[in-house]
């Protein structure tokens, strides 16, 4: 497959691995921000091919994992008590809320639908004007343009039965939170390629400067990841801290201006609670007040008591890169993808699920 097979070429992989072994002389700790990168590292068995000096720490970039418990409870409430058609991306529906997941709500008779695009939810709203349709709009900057577009689309169609339950989170504030937390002692970052495809590079330069930390915008295929790691290690070995772009075939410096325009029309920056991590100031997007009728939070005035997380789950420490999934006492025992205690065990981008599904053959 063109544009894919060449980035999975065993010879090229071999070449970058050799290069990495040559370049890395000291131990380095690098965080890949995006869950998609974690997934690919583990799925392709790359972690056990890296030089021993390089420790990859998995970041908080799994949208499903950081969506607050309270919001899942709200989605379940909307589906069960308000009789809405609750539409969601696939891996969100298995994440446990405080009493149950959307999948369990579905089994109990709630109308929960798995969609690939929020525009499909708008179509459902158009076809069933007598029902309220809510799209569970989770994600980082990557899914925001489509979610925002669905609101604009619904407004253009004059729909009064469509709204989104938004839980958008932003990468740069999360990076700073991880650095400031300090415990994970991250020395370099692989920035999330697809997030930068939308947002461009400019928000990252200040972080690189302020914390003097190398950062390489990186793609998702084996060759991308190895090249990104190599570029980071070279900077570290040379004592440099620069913003570089490994994923230049996709990421432009100014991102995707059209997509950003759509986002700006619908969302505004707000404080946001991250599941497992806590409140991070100005780290999310919420629907603008002027579009309140498309904001499920305002439209349905839901108030649900905040529930507390499962005490045994160390998702927060995993998401901040402080602990590896297998350092959790419940990993693979009390907590599996069938009986997840925390969200990182659900999404395939969650570090726990990635380790569970694609455990390194040597580690087991």
């Amino acid at each position: 497959m063109k544009y894919l097979s060449e980035f999975r070429d065993p010879e090229v992989v071999e070449h970058y691995l050799e290069e990495l072994h040559k370049v890395a002389t000291r131990p380095w700790t690098i965080m890949e921000i995006c869950g998609g990168q974690t997934h690919s590292l583990v799925k392709n068995g790359l972690l056990n091919l890296l030089p021993k000096q390089i420790t990859m720490v998995h970041g908080p970039g799994c949208p499903v994992c950081v969506t607050p418990l309270n919001l899942i409870d709200k989605a379940v409430y909307l589906a069960e008590e308000k009789g809405v058609i609750l539409c969601s991306f696939g891996d969100m529906i298995r994440v446990p809320g405080s009493s149950r997941s959307l999948l369990e709500a579905k089994a109990n008779g709630a109308d929960v639908r798995i969609l690939y695009s929020p525009l499909e939810a708008v179509k459902i709203a158009q076809e069933q004007p007598e029902r309220q349709v809510v799209f569970f709009a989770v994600g980082f900057e990557t899914t925001a343009p489509a979610n925002a577009l669905s609101v604009l689309h619904a407004r253009r169609l004059g729909l009064t039965n469509y709204s989104i339950l938004a839980s958008h989170v932003l990468v740069p504030p999360a990076m700073e939170a991880v650095i400031n937390d300090g415990e994970a002692q991250i020395q370099g970052f692989l920035a999330a390629g697809h997030v930068c495809t939308i947002m461009g590079l400019e928000e990252y330069e200040p972080i690189v400067q302020r914390y003097h930390i190398p950062m390489v915008v990186t793609g998702f295929e084996p060759v991308d990841l190895l090249q990104g790691i190599l570029m980071t290690v070279k900077q570290l070995e040379n004592g440099e801290a620069k913003l570089e772009n490994q994923y230049s075939r996709v990421v432009k410096a100014n991102g995707n201006p059209e997509a950003r325009k759509v986002i700006e029309q619908v969302f505004e920056v707000s404080d946001r609670e991250w599941r497992g991590i806590g409140n991070i100031p100005l780290s999310g997007w919420e629907v603008k007040a002027s579009l309140a009728e498309f904001d499920a939070n305002r439209k349905f005035s839901i108030s649900i008591a905040k529930a507390s997380e499962c005490a045994d789950c160390i998702a927060g420490q995993v998401l901040k890169g402080i602990k590896k999934p297998f350092e959790c006492s419940q990993f693979g025992k009390g907590c599996t993808p069938i009986t997840p205690l925390g969200a990182p065990m659900v999404s395939s981008e969650g570090a726990c699920a990635a380790y569970y599904h694609f455990a390194e053959a040597d580690a087991v």
Partner: protein, 339 residues
């Protein structure tokens, strides 16, 4: 299609009364005609002896019509293939329908015609059956159950107990095609593709292998729901041996590979309906692959793995780029990823 007084299925068609008889006499019996069925009795009566395989399966696929087939031929091929995986030569099938009120006669007829065609192709007779109708909303247009009987091939001895360390694992054709073809027409997920389901009767191909290689075929499995990964995990668990799976030679159609990339699915977990896996001694593997490639539905056959005493009960994938990872049993349904 016969001329009828009704064009949709109603509750009455499952009542056992006049409407049921009208439905059956309208052409169903004629379509599936054979001496045992022609008795129109409560069950089929026949002589039978020898080693036998007996299997049953229910079909609830949605949508009922999909690129490359419909629920009817799937219901025939599915049970035919289950029998073939036992090393049997399928002979008789039963056929039970649960119809949802409102199913059009045109759809039902089209499914029946496919059933007949599939039965002919597989060389089996439908010798007994049943039809029930449930209220609208209580079913999903049509559910089908088929059960089947077949004599076990005299040279066959198929069992997980026969699997040995060193055995090679052969797959008969490109994997994941059926699941992706179905997904391409699922509501809310339509994407354009020329892919068609791989649904096919595998019994003739399997028989040809057994004729020539007999007990060298240690185990046969068809990776339907749960895909190749689930079958290999079952075998590893039951045999207490490990499986090494090699990513490079696994045949996957380019279009299927692309769709899996887009949808965030792993082809190893996607369903197949016209593919089987054979566990065979290493020394015979190449010969068996060459033979398979001359047979129907076997052109893309390849060795994709081997059985090992290392890592018992575990399936380890050796990725194209030299990495290794454990391939687990599928958990729930494969769910699409967000980004």
């Amino acid at each position: 299609m016969p001329k009828l007084d009704f064009d949709v299925i109603t509750l009455g068609h499952g009542s056992g009364g006049i409407l049921t008889n009208q439905l059956l006499e309208s052409g169903v019996f004629d379509l599936l005609k054979n001496p045992l069925l022609d008795e129109h009795h409560d069950g089929a009566m026949f002589e039978w002896s020898g080693r036998t395989a007996f299997s049953t399966d229910s079909y609830v696929i949605s949508p009922i019509f999909f690129p490359g087939g419909n629920i009817g031929e799937l219901a025939v091929n599915g049970t035919v293939n289950d029998l073939a995986m036992c090393g049997a030569v399928p002979k008789y099938l039963s056929l039970s329908f649960i119809l949802e009120e409102g199913l059009t006669m045109k759809e039902f007829w089209e499914i029946l015609v496919s059933i007949r065609r599939a039965a002919e192709k597989a060389g089996v007779s439908i010798v007994t059956g049943d039809t029930k109708v449930v209220e609208r909303g209580k079913g999903d247009k049509i559910f089908i159950n088929t059960s089947g009987l077949g004599h076990i091939h005299p040279q066959a001895h198929i069992s997980t107990k026969n699997v040995r360390a060193g055995d090679k694992i052969i797959v008969s054709g490109a994997i994941a095609t059926h699941g992706i073809a179905i997904m391409s027409v699922r509501e809310g997920l339509e994407f354009e593709t020329t892919l068609t389901s791989d649904s096919a009767p595998l019994n003739h191909t399997v028989k040809a292998l057994l004729d020539e290689f007999g007990t060298d075929i240690h185990l046969l499995k068809d990776p339907t729901r749960g895909g190749v990964a689930s079958v290999l995990n079952e075998v590893a668990r039951d045999s207490r041996l490990g499986v090494n799976l090699f990513q490079q030679p696994i045949p996957v159609l380019e279009e299927v590979r692309g769709a899996c990339e887009l949808l965030g699915l792993d082809p190893l977990y996607v369903a197949n309906e016209g593919v089987f896996m054979a566990f065979v001694p290493a020394g015979k593997a190449e010969e068996i692959v060459q033979k398979l490639r001359t047979l129907a539905y076997g052109q893309d056959a390849a060795v994709i793995g081997e059985v090992t005493t290392e890592h018992p009960k575990q399936v380890v994938l050796h990725s194209r780029i030299g990495g290794k990872r454990v391939v687990n049993m599928l958990v729930g349904e494969q769910l699409p990823r967000i980004c």
